[in-house]
Amino acid sequence: MGKVLKKEDLNKFLYKIKSSQELIAPVTTDCTRFENVKFISQINLEKIPDFSPKKYLIPAMEDVSFFPESKFNLLQFLKRQKNKVIFGIRLCDINAIHILDKKLLGKDPLYTQRREKITIIGLQCSKEIEKNCFCASFSLKNHADLFFHDIKEEYYIEVKTEKGMKLVSRLKDYDYEADKIYTKKRLENKDLEKEFDNKAWEDAAKKCISCGVCTNICPTCHCFNTEDMTDVDAKKGKRVRFLTSCHYKDFWKNNDDSLIDLKKEDMLKHRIYHKLHYFKKKYGIEMCTGCGRCITNCPAGIDFVKIINSMK
């Protein structure tokens, strides 16, 4: 049993949320991305966002501590964090957050404190989805607090958690059997362990320019590095942490700053195997949710779904 909301009442519903906490939703400017909503009318639910809401959980760069004053009080920055509702997240990005939870929740204090303040309101994709989406290849589950389905004049709302129920408790009860998402593109189930030395990897890697777009745009890629930055007098400074990419040479440094001797092919394989094989071995689920953004945005046109599907 869920709830129902008339489409004409959506703005009122969102405005109520916005009056008590930050509302993050897809906004279209030069592209469609999740932004802190200033006016409800900015929200665009028609297009699948070009970026995931990863930045609200793991910013591309953030201050971790100031020194010498703080002596590394990691949490000093988090006191200012407000409760946030992220609205309009598609199933792929919801599962991406679930994957990040598995890896980081309770282990990374910065992530944990942000995550605990976030409520997720999902939105079912319509039948017309992006050509590179392949989420139906994975058994994605609904980990949202609330999940909206567009049913003509109304939204059917699946209530998944207590946190979600608090937002919709006054709405009418409703029952609805939601359709599953169909994607034309599918990742075939291959035994990747056996395909490690497949020549297809080498051929694809020749095109890679190591720009790191795939990892930056990926909703689950979260590898980071840290660096100390000092003031001009070198007496004060701050530590920052920033997202990095396994496609950058710097990622493969040894402790003595020498580099592990890897080919581009190894870097590409590292990313794909981490997503589809290593993570699954450790946590029981793939680290990819089939959003297809890495394929859409790769300037070299590398499509790992095609690569894997072509392996015989």
Binding site: F72, L104, K107, P109, C223, D228, N255, D257, D261
Partner: protein, 251 residues
Amino acid sequence: MAEYTEFKINDVRKNGKHENLISVKYKGIVFPGQYFIAWVAGFGDITLPVAFYSDGTLGFSVSIKREASRKLFELRIKETIFLRGPYGHGFPMNNLKHKNLVMISENDLFSPIFAVIKFIELNKKEYKKARVILIQGEDESDAFLDLLKSIDGKKEIEVIKLKNISELKENILINDDKDSAEYLLSFKSTRLKEIVLFLKERGISEKQILIYLNRKIICGTGVCGACAVFGVHACIDGPVFRADKIERFFR
């Protein structure tokens, strides 16, 4: 990303021109092959493999490689160092008991091997013969060799010095106990392949080879992902690995 603890430097011993052995007082359980992360304000973190731990004294070898390590190198007695750790899985010292050990290392990365030797020195009865092969370039200092000379239990610990990895010969292997001897390696990743192949060609199984993987480590807790390589995280799954766990490294 854990908090750092402030320690006072207890002792600084010169170990060659560009290397110092620094020690701090530490209470806890530390195994050879584990590491700490030192913070040098304004310069970043440095991963320090444990060089020895006995009687509540924890030692690290600090050599000048870049600015951050120069700052550590310049530390003197009673000055402060910020550390977090210990992290990672060290050498499985319990599994190495009553086995012949061959330890092969290059001078630069000798710390984790030195920690094993110091551990054996303290627990002599439980370990068999240990052969230490130190690969030392011509311009590198004899500091570790000098330290090894001072180790009590010289009969059990035999030290061989080689100038180059190409000088490794059959006779460095322990032939009387070839199938159960354990081979402990600490090398730069660029040389690891060469040395593992050398051992494999002589019938040593990957399961007999333990490797200290000198990967750059950022968080030490498996969170940042920056030390991942072929499905393992050097920080929490290692930095000591059985060669068969990271066999893709040697292809």
